[in-house]
C-alpha cells in the first residue's frame, strides 16, 4: 500500500496532528481498500471518450497552424468565389449568343420562304393563260407583281390563290420586321 508522505506543502498553515493516528487513518480510509467494480474504468471511458473535443476539426486545424495557413485558406476561398462568378457570367453570355443565332436563323428561314413565294408567283404568271401581254415581274417588288397578276385574272380560283400568297407575304414581312427588331434590341 502506498504510504502518503512528504507531499510538498501548499500552504504555510499547519494542523496539529498525531502522525501515528494520521497514518492509521490513511491506511484505514485509503481508496486502495475499496474494490473497484469490474470494468468500471472501461465503462467510464466508453461513455465519455466520444465526447472529447474533436482533434481534427477544420477550424481547430487552421487555428493551430501559422497565419500562413489562414492566408492560404482565405486566398482559396476568394479564388473559388471568383471562379464561380466567372463561370456564371460566361453562361449568361453564351445564352445571349445562342438566342441571337437562333433569331438570325429564323430570319434567314423567313427570307428563304419569301423568296420561294416570289418564285412561285413568277412561275404562275409565266404559265397562266393571261394573254400575250408580257409581265415585267423580274425587277418588280413581289406585291406589285401580285397586283399585276391579279389585275389580269378573272378566274376566282386564281384570285384566291394569289390572295393566299399575298397574305403569306404580309405575314412573312411582319415576322421579318419583328425578328429584325429583336436582333437589334
Amino acid at each position: 500500500m502506498k504510504r502518503p508522505m512528504n507531499k510538498p506543502q501548499t500552504s504555510h498553515e499547519r494542523i496539529e496532528s498525531d502522525p501515528w493516528l494520521d497514518a492509521l487513518l490513511d491506511d484505514a480510509l485509503s481508496a486502495d481498500r475499496i474494490t473497484m467494480p469490474v470494468g468500471l474504468t472501461g465503462r467510464i471511458i466508453a461513455a465519455t471518450e466520444h465526447q472529447l473535443p474533436s482533434r481534427h476539426g477544420v477550424l481547430a486545424t487552421i487555428g493551430s497552424y501559422s497565419f500562413i495557413a489562414r492566408y492560404a485558406a482565405t486566398f482559396l476561398l476568394i479564388a473559388s468565389l471568383g471562379a464561380t462568378f466567372f463561370i456564371v457570367s460566361n453562361i449568361g453570355q453564351q445564352n445571349r449568343e445562342n438566342e441571337l443565332a437562333q433569331a438570325q436563323a429564323a430570319q434567314q428561314a423567313s427570307l428563304a420562304r419569301l423568296q420561294q413565294v416570289e418564285e412561285d408567283v413568277m412561275r404562275f404568271a409565266q404559265n397562266a393563260p393571261v394573254g400575250n401581254d408580257p409581265l415585267l415581274l423580274v425587277d418588280a417588288p413581289v406585291d406589285q407583281s401580285i397586283d399585276q397578276v391579279k389585275a389580269r385574272l378573272n378566274s376566282s380560283e386564281i384570285t384566291s390563290a394569289v390572295d393566299t400568297w399575298d397574305q403569306m407575304t404580309e405575314s412573312l414581312e411582319i415576322e421579318l420586321a419583328r425578328l429584325e427588331t429583336e436582333s437589334n434590341g
Binding site: K2, I15, W20, A28, L29, R33, I44, P53, R55
Partner: protein, 233 residues
C-alpha cells in the same frame, strides 16, 4: 507535532496534471484515459465511503466523469482539477441523496465485502498496523507475535467504531483527506468553505478520534487488569 495542509500523496499520474488536462481538452484520448485511470478509484472510493452504496457510487462516478468531459474544453483553472472533480462528485451525491430522501450514511467498516472493502483487506490491514507499531517501516516481516496481532486487531476495531460514531461533517473531511487524498486547502475548495473552518474541523475530528480511542483503550486495559486481579484472588 504538526502536519502540513497538503494531503497524503494519492496515486498521481507521472505527467503533470495541467499538461494531461490540456492534452485531453485537445482531444487526445490517451491523456483522458490516464486521467480516468488516475482518479476513478479515488472518486469511487470517496463516494462509497460517503454513502455506503456501491451501486450508487458507481453510477455517480460515471456521471462525474461524463460531466467533466463535457466541460473539459472550457476548463481553464490550472491546478484545481482535483477540487473541481471531487466537488462535482460530492454535489452529485448530495443531489441524489436528497432525491432519494435519505441521509448519507458511513460505510460499514466491519470488513464485509459487500460493504465496499475486499475480503482480503483485513489481512492487509493487520499487516499494516503491525508495520506502523514497529515504527512505520515498510520492511515488516511476517513473523509476528499472535498476541500483538490480536492487540492491533482490537485497535483497528476501535478506530472503525470511532469513525462510525463521528458526525457527517467530520467524516466528510476525513474521507476527503484520507480517501480522496486532498490537502486541507483542496478540501476547502471542494466544500466551498474557508480554509480555517476546514482546518478546525479536521483538528476537531482528529482530537475526537484520539479521545475516543484512548478512552476505549483505557477501559479495555482496566477490564483486563480487573480480570487479572480477580484471577489472582
Amino acid at each position: 507535532m504538526t502536519s502540513s495542509v497538503s494531503g497524503p500523496s494519492p496515486q498521481q499520474p507521472s505527467e503533470p496534471l495541467d499538461s494531461l488536462l490540456a492534452r485531453a481538452a485537445a482531444g487526445e484520448g490517451d491523456a483522458w484515459h490516464t486521467l480516468v485511470n488516475s482518479y476513478s478509484k479515488r472518486v469511487f472510493g470517496l463516494l462509497v465511503r460517503q454513502c455506503g452504496d456501491r451501486e450508487l457510487a458507481e453510477e455517480i462516478t460515471q456521471a462525474t466523469f461524463v460531466k467533466v468531459v463535457g466541460h473539459i474544453g472550457r476548463y481553464r483553472e490550472q491546478g484545481k482539477i482535483e477540487p473541481w472533480l471531487f466537488r462535482i462528485a460530492m454535489n452529485r451525491l448530495r443531489d441524489e441523496m436528497r432525491r432519494r430522501g435519505r441521509q448519507a450514511r458511513p460505510m460499514d467498516m466491519s470488513g464485509a465485502r459487500g460493504d465496499g472493502e475486499s475480503s482480503g483487506d483485513a489481512a492487509a490491514w493487520h499487516a499494516t498496523q503491525d508495520r506502523i507499531q514497529r515504527g512505520g517501516g515498510d520492511e515488516g516481516s511476517d513473523s509476528e507475535d499472535p498476541s500483538q496481532r490480536a492487540d492491533r486487531a482490537e485497535q483497528v476495531d476501535r478506530l472503525k467504531a470511532a469513525i462510525e460514531s463521528m458526525n457527517e461533517a467530520d467524516r466528510t473531511v476525513l474521507n476527503l483527506r484520507h480517501t480522496a487524498g486532498l490537502s486541507f486547502a483542496q478540501i476547502a475548495e471542494t466544500l466551498g468553505e474557508p480554509l480555517g473552518t476546514v482546518l478546525a474541523r479536521g483538528h476537531r475530528a482528529l482530537a475526537k478520534l484520539r479521545k475516543l480511542m484512548t478512552e476505549d483503550e483505557e477501559s479495555t486495559s482496566n477490564e483486563s487488569r480487573d480480570r487479572q486481579e480477580a484471577g489472582t484472588e
